[in-house]
Subunit: 330 residues, 2 copies
DNA sequence: AAATAGTCCGCAAACGTTTGCGGTAATATT
DNA sequence: AATATTACCGCAAACGTTTGCGGACTATTT
């Protein structure tokens, strides 16, 4: 069986194609009688408008693209869920593409978005991305982009981020209150603005509070890298009494090292992280974390992108406040 | 700036649209000279064929749909990654839809697939699904469906699954060889075929090996539930020396209980699970597991779907062998 | 009774491709 | 020198919609 078209309905009922088309969308030009006849037949034939024809004709794809490093990440997953919900409400479809943190795949994905004439894009860039041509090509075609989470350093773009400074400061304050004195701050790629922001706030909050706190800042790009670094740190004679991890990935590595060294949490060492919440709850005791809600970020991002598509929003940077969720790890 | 079309290229170069179209796909009718001129201009204008027009004309969407309960699951995530890789190679795009285990959303998603004229579908059904009309509608339109992981009970469908019995037996054999005598088997919802299959194979393998092994089978539906059960089990005087978890979710709960009771792995207690591999590697020592590779399943599923789309494969059920990945947890 | 307004519907163009067919000019064959 | 072949390119239809415009007919107003 082949799919049913307007033409088929028109022919079996003896109407013109335009009448059928109008009837199906309740155009006032069509009488109730014929409208009902048409609707009934369309229904029984499971008519679905051919989206390719529709989009070709209307020049509006009703498609939005999402580009993330990996969908397995719980932060992105909840972000995507939020977008998905909104898209369902507003008649949009989603095209999800993963970059695996590879700038080449990122560029290729941008090309795919262009090819599919997406109406708008959500993009979380990879750490290595230096060349942003593939994104500017999109903006040249009037395809609005909302960067989220990991965003380019340039001005004049749409950016939606967690309040990274606030999150860093929140974690630092918590550590200070817990009276920790030898702290390891585990941060990600220093080329990312998310890293510099969190690092700056974390560091300056600690320095402002007391000179007696020893802070050692480490950078790791992978979970394995983090594990190794923390392993080394725990082997030294001057034992740290608190570890801060700015991401889930780093937390995973740190926790493996702590388990390996059999350090008791929170007695021997305190742990705090910035996270979406899934990973911290895998351990006992559950890890205290500053929450970065992908879901809320998604909702905020979507409304902004919609405004951009409608042409009634200028490029701007939005931030979302974060809250602290207490486990028993400090 | 508006996007460039064949027409625009044709006009600026003084060729017909058909010549431009043919030149761009290296049709032998076009001379090398004009082909190069056209390719050059197209390149400098960043020409991308309008996929809506292409698909409308060719009646081939080059789009495949994936329906999963949730993309946050690591098993599905790796499945999707495999599909994504293959799609990239074969010029397909992907449309990912989540069902949240809701049969209504599942039906709605099937409608979206129809509307977007997907070339094929991968579907993992939700546990509650009783009505399969939305799927039969797709097959009526010659849209092949490959069910994977959680599949309908009916015959004559394309199904790709893990070898669940084998996985259960493999884990049991490993425990037996490790000479464990007091085993806890932690299983999921007994109504699911995946549970009964794994349980049956696990149990009978153990019973067959020795009468001296004490096996206690527990059922949990959530991570919290599992944590509580294992917590109780570890509190009893007769301490278990091995725990088997049939899923990541259960493993998470079990590990929290073990950490809480501060049991040393593998000295005091051995742990083994069935998993995709992500969760077992979060701990130190890493947990030994029987691998259910979503990635491999994805590769297998894709080649089968491609065969179905090409019309050279009949409905059949495929199973994928599982292998044991050793950690240091037993 | 004539003019006006309103109701309901069809014609045809357009969106950007792909592709069968036919045509012209140049080249090769007898 | 006449014919057959080849190389290269354009015409036009089709995919399934949407939508401006106009046409026919009925109902209302003057």
């Amino acid at each position: 069986m082949t799919s049913t078209t307007l033409k088929k309905i028109a022919e079996t009922l003896g109407y013109s194609i335009s009448t059928v088309s109008r009837a199906l969308k309740h155009h006032p030009d069509i009488s109730a009688a014929t409208r009902n006849k048409i609707l009934e037949l369309a229904n029984s034939l499971d008519y679905e408008p051919n989206s390719f024809a529709v989009h070709l004709r209307t020049q509006d794809s009703k498609l939005i693209g999402i580009m993330v490093p990996a969908i397995s990440n719980f932060f992105y997953e909840s972000f995507i869920s939020a977008i998905e919900e909104e898209c369902r409400k507003n008649g949009y479809s989603i095209m999800i593409l993963q970059t695996a943190n590879d700038p080449n795949i990122e560029a290729e994905n941008a090309r795919l978005f262009r090819q599919n004439r997406v109406s708008g894009v959500f993009a979380c860039i990879s750490a290595e991305t230096q060349n942003f041509d593939h994104f500017t090509k999109l903006t040249e075609l009037n395809i609005p982009i909302v960067f989220f989470d990991k965003v380019p350093p340039m001005e004049g773009l749409n950016k939606v981020c967690m309040a990274d400074e606030q999150a860093g400061a929140l974690a630092a304050t918590y550590i200070i209150k817990a009276n920790k004195k030898r702290i390891i701050g585990l941060f990600g790629d220093p080329r990312l603005s998310i890293t510099t922001k969190r690092l700056f706030a974390f560091k300056s909050t600690i320095e402002l509070a007391s000179q007696k706190i020893a802070l050692s800042v480490l950078h790791a790009n992978t979970s394995e890298n983090a594990e190794q670094l923390i392993n080394e740190a725990l082997s030294q004679s001057k034992k740290p009494d608190a570890i801060f991890c700015m991401s889930d990935e780093l937390l995973i590595g740190a926790m493996k090292a702590i388990q390996q060294k059999e350090r008791k949490i929170p007695k021997e060492i305190g742990v705090i992280s910035i996270s979406n919440g899934f990973i911290p709850k895998l351990f006992y005791p559950e890890i205290t974390y500053v929450e970065t809600s992908g879901y809320k970020l998604g909702k905020l991002s979507f409304s902004h992108l919609l405004a951009c598509i409608a042409g009634l929003a200028l490029p701007q940077e939005l931030t979302l406040d974060s809250i602290l969720v207490e486990g028993r790890s400090m």
